[in-house]
Symmetry: C2
Subunit: 190 residues, 2 copies
């Protein structure tokens, strides 16, 4: 997606160790107009997968997942990292390593909002190692739901996430695909 | 706002101790169509305050802040609870008690995205004791920014937040104002 790639080239910063800083429009400050355009594009690409719910992980997945869900007119559920007191005692929980926090984080979803029979579209900000998204896949499968698609704003192919997710046999769509980052140079797949 | 109040009456649950559970459409599962309508309403109410940025706190403030920012065509910044490795060493940080986590949480904003001279509109999910919003006010003031308005989806008047915020002298807008919760009965101000 042209607008997203141009923005990454203009404002993205390669911090080394595979970390791409996009805090000025995705991860800390968010450009809602760009996120809305990304959501519209995801909705177009996943228009025919029959999703009944969008699933993401707090925190950075919320913006693109919300705008995607808006354009698909579907509810969106975000997995929490801590269990708030409003959540029932029995929950779906899994662990995934956090890229930017450097620790294992919990992904928690209440059974109230993820049920058997749901057709789940997973949307997140990054597809890197695929660990967070695989965590969301495990949660959905534990709930008896079916994964029907996976979307990420930004994919870093050199971290191998797509290979890990491929066996799921669902469409995987990334709006900006980065094949290499060296110093100030960010290389896209096309 | 009629749609929001009707939804609270239909799906909100009084968990006691002043906790209103709205996890099915605001806090864990989000209804993006309702959030978009709320964002449009905030944008209408704050159309003339001259805001240059929307500020909120992760996690539950993100959805209403994002849709408000979308309708105002402004960037939105969400204060983080933990400092990710993409953030510089020197940050704006304050502490606020979390209602639903029962602990003090950090609110952290990078100086990169909150500068002197900004005119900040604060949007959050709840206005209860006002502690989180006052934390955001302190962050913005530390940055040299000016607060120009405060909006919350749901206000609980019996927790006194509005009194705490009133001395700021800025418009405070809530889309659903709850004056009492007793058992299954939720009473709105009008």
């Amino acid at each position: 997606m042209k607008e997203l790639k141009e923005r990454i080239l203009r404002e993205g910063k390669n911090l080394g160790n595979g970390i791409l800083k996009v805090d000025s429009f995705v991860n800390h400050q968010v450009d809602p107009v760009l996120m809305n355009a990304c959501g519209r594009e995801f909705a177009r690409r996943f228009a025919n997968v029959g999703a009944t719910k969008v699933l993401t992980a707090e925190i950075s997945g919320i913006a693109p997942a919300l705008t995607t869900a808006l354009h698909l007119s579907l509810p969106v559920v975000y997995a929490r990292n801590t269990k708030p007191i409003t959540m029932p005692d029995a929950v779906f929980l899994t662990l995934a390593p956090s890229h930017t926090k450097g620790v294992m984080t919990e992904l928690i979803v209440s059974p109230e909002y993820l049920a058997g029979g749901e057709r789940v579209l997973i949307i997140d900000d990054f597809l890197a190692s695929g660990a967070t998204i695989m965590g969301l896949v495990r949660l959905a499968q534990t709930a008896g739901a079916t994964i029907v698609g996976i979307g990420a704003l930004i994919e870093k192919t050199f971290e191998g996430g797509r290979q890990m997710l491929k066996p799921l046999g669902v469409p995987i769509e990334s709006l900006a695909v980065i094949t290499a980052m060296e110093g100030d140079t960010i290389v896209f797949s096309d």
